[in-house]
């Protein structure tokens, strides 16, 4: 939370809890707690500030500060109700993005627009994992009230609440809310394993570092012992080795106990819920250019449905190529022979002039197997094979073109015989 978000939250929370707040001098606020909160704050009023430089004048508020934590706690303790949020997924932005993502040679049209409404029960769970430290996270799941499907809610709080509005419709009656909660709890519990795995992998490096420290230390001790001249009897040396071994083992075990998270150390607790009505707009989109036409189904909740068939990139600009595929424009090449568009991996470069030619249009030199455009491919008067124009020499007498296999001297075989 930056200072503006923090301030906004603080003021909203104060309003919610009926705490009177007045700015008594620049950046210093006077709080007057309602009677019912006197026992919580153990004070009837206090001064606060959001600026560190004023902390000698008033209680400095940060997300970790005692006052804010207390306020947050009191907010969560207030009686709960059920909210109804409306989340529209309009096509407007998706369409605009689609237009921007295709090159000007493509024509885009949209047809058959319609809207589908889905209703969900969204439940936020608090995941608490206790190991050598506490890791907590809020995760939300949504239950489709029509199909019973449960999925992860892909928004963080700020993003979600910047998009939702208060639903104008009445709250639906959810008969089996306890059953739904149970199902969602099961789903959340199932996802707990991945949370534990994620947190374990975060501390694994730390554990490895600690284990390495212990191994390095005991390796050193053993090495120093081996070189020690004062070693007494064989038995004491053996005893020493044994004790080092057991110390090393015990220390590593202690580190493992410390740095391991277990699934049984995870608690999952439902904290808040909301009925969420999603309204998703759908349409058909047609992209066409001289090489073909492509159809897509677009929906308002789509991030970006277009993908380069070659690079898998989604950032565009795209075009359609001769075989009908979508391709990043920068990866498309035009064949100088047939004027069709292909992806660059389907193209060859003429060994003489470097121009792009498609597989079908490309000729080959019988001498080097190199690709050639039709302009730089010719045939040898001797062997009648196709070769590159720069692989041809003229006979010194008849001036006929010959490849280097057929013309070993200055004259072709025929002229040589004549002379």
């Amino acid at each position: 939370m930056d200072i503006h978000e923090l301030k906004a939250y603080f003021f909203n929370a104060c309003a919610f809890l009926h705490i009177e707040i007045n700015e008594i001098q620049p950046d210093i606020y006077h709080l007057v707690f309602p009677k019912k909160l006197h026992h919580v704050f153990k004070e009837e009023q206090m001064n606060i500030t959001f600026l560190k430089e004023h902390q000698h004048l008033a209680s400095f508020i940060t997300t970790e500060s005692y006052v804010l934590q207390k306020i947050a706690h009191v907010v969560t303790q207030q009686p709960k109700g059920m909210s109804h949020a409306f989340l529209p997924f309009s096509l407007q932005e998706v369409k605009q993005r689609a237009r921007q993502l295709f090159s000007p040679d493509c024509t885009i049209t949209f047809q058959q627009e319609n809207t589908i409404t889905q209703r969900y029960l969204v439940l936020w769970f608090k995941f608490t994992l206790k190991g050598f430290k506490v890791e907590e996270s809020l995760r939300a799941f949504k239950y489709n009230l029509a199909t019973g499907d449960i999925s992860f809610l892909p928004f963080d709080l700020q993003e979600l609440f910047s998009r939702v509005t208060e639903s104008k419709k009445a709250l639906p009656t959810i008969e089996n809310i306890e059953e739904i909660n149970e199902k969602m709890m099961k789903k959340a519990t199932k996802s707990g394993a991945s949370f534990v795995k994620e947190k374990t992998s975060e501390v694994e490096q730390e554990l490895e570092k600690e284990i390495k420290r212990i191994h390095d230390y005991y390796d050193l001790l053993q090495l120093e012992d081996a070189f020690a001249e004062t070693a007494s009897t064989v038995e004491t040396r053996e005893e020493r080795e044994e004790s080092l071994k057991s110390e090393r083992y015990l220390l590593i075990e202690q580190q493992k106990i410390k740095y391991t998270f277990h699934e049984e150390d995870l608690t999952i607790e439902p904290v808040e819920m909301v009925v969420l009505t999603e309204e998703i707009e759908y349409c058909e989109m047609t992209v066409s250019n001289s090489f073909g036409t492509h159809h897509f189904t677009l929906s308002g909740d789509m991030e970006n449905p277009f993908i380069c068939s070659l690079t898998k990139r989604k950032d565009g600009p795209f075009t359609l190529i001769s075989d009908g595929r979508i391709l990043l424009q920068e990866k498309a090449r035009v064949c100088t022979e047939c004027l069709q568009t292909f992806d660059y991996t389907q193209m060859k470069l003429c060994a003489v002039c470097d121009t792009s030619v498609c597989h079908s249009c490309a000729k080959r030199s019988s001498l080097t197997q190199a690709a050639l455009c039709s302009k730089h491919a010719t045939s040898c008067q001797g062997c009648r094979q196709q070769v590159a124009t720069n692989e041809i020499q003229e006979c010194g007498s008849c001036r006929d073109p010959y490849c280097r296999s057929c013309l070993s001297g200055e004259l072709c075989e025929l002229c040589f015989d004549l002379y």
């Binding site: 907010v75 909210s83 109804h84």
Partner: protein, 555 residues
Amino acid sequence: MKKQLLSDLYLRLQSQDILLQKGYDRLLCLPELSIEPKPWQIETALKALGDMQGSALLADEVGLGKTVEAGLIMKELIHRGLIRSILVLVPSPLIEQWKVEMEEKFSLSFTDMRQKGWEKQELVITSLQYPIRSKERKAKLLTKTFDLVIVDEAHALKNHQTSLYKFVYQLKRKNTILLSATPLQNDMREIYNLINIMKPGYLKSRRIFRKEYMIDRFTPKNVKRLKDLLNDVMIRHRRANTLTELPKRSLLNSVIEMDSLEKSFYNDVTEFCKKIHLDYDKKTMSIMTLILLLKENTSSPQAVISTLEKSILPKLSKDDQKVCKQLIALGQQVQVTSKMKKMKEIVSSSSEQYIIYSEFQHSIEHLRSYLEKNGFSVVTFSGALNSKQKEAVIQTFKEGKAKILLSTEAGGQGINLQFCRNLIHFDLPWNPMRIEQRIGRVHRFGQTKEVQIYTIPTSGTIDEYLLYILTSKINLFEMIIGELDTVMSYMKEGNETLETTIGKILLDSKNSKEIEEKMKKIGEDLVKARNEFVENETQSSKLLNHIGVETNGHS
């Protein structure tokens, strides 16, 4: 379910998000404490828990509250549900103080290993030496795995060849907190030894440490690298960077003479105790009861009479009962002692408020009635009150509705009385730590005036000897709060407390000359301990400052 505004839901979710624990960005246990920790203490706890992941050497200079820092670490880990078992190892004179401090400030109840059934407890405290004096005790501790082991005055672990060092090294534990204001004293290797207990191999092997970081015992090399390494496992604040100076405190000592009746009662009680000590076996008459009686004898006849009647009389032979009853009758004749008159004189000398401490409830009650009869407004504070009553008493006194607060130490650890500057030791605890705790109630942050400490020792009694040692020898009344703990840790650890030692001196000595000589010996031991500490602190500071181990403090 009632409909709720979406904005309210967002606020609730934001609140849930704010309350999430993400590592150690704050201490969650603070609302549960009865103290307000200082900024550097909070910073230390957060650093030890966060960056140092639960194992650290806390090396603040004396007086900055390392015990509070350790308490914060423990409390926070317990609050978050991350640990259950803790073993605290402290020098034996500090066990009681640690227990009380943890209970009063952090609501953590530690069980002394000397108590039966300690094995079943999660929070165990013991002296550094107690476990290693018995194979069985040692083995019991070594089979357990502790979530946290704390060693106070950890300079006791400076030598890796001692059985204490080897024992602590072997303790199975997840986290280790070491506390010492003097983590190195005579040799750089001492700090290696401390850190090697906490994190074996962190500074490589002893041989490599010597080669890489020592020119000689007192001179470090590769200072920059050593500093970086130490700063990752060690936290050290300096007084100069943290504390705002407290006002001065002065000792006003008024030696008084007893009148003949008092003197005769005092002497008869002393002789009677000696006789009982000789004539009765320990099972019938515990030495602790006799020591209590001797201590009460320096306070008031009323305190003595109560113990004589309740704890002594029923156990005596008929002949001795007769003597005892005569003693009680004599004591009852002494209603207003010279000490009480002196006390009245002191409190009448100004219009200010006074706190009067006595160790004994009967003395307190007697003083209350005497002061009230003389027209003073008095409130009393003792461990017998419940927390609401305690709060009310302090509030009355704070609001100036009473001139005098009469208090026993019991239950008073967490209270702050810095709004008052006059403190009278009506009797003097034989444990110097308790004297320091009394002073600490008024001479603390928030005190703005010079603190006046009054003592009223009676001429020719043990009080006079004790006061002489504490003032002339170790200058207790001018010490920094907390310094005494460290000084006491430098005393050779015996099996008994200073209180018991003094009690035994009184019981076993033939005459006052012998008492004087034995008390002198205690004084010499204290002086030796203090000198050793001062020397080590200077040496330690010099070396640590040279290396640059210091955490930036808050002013």
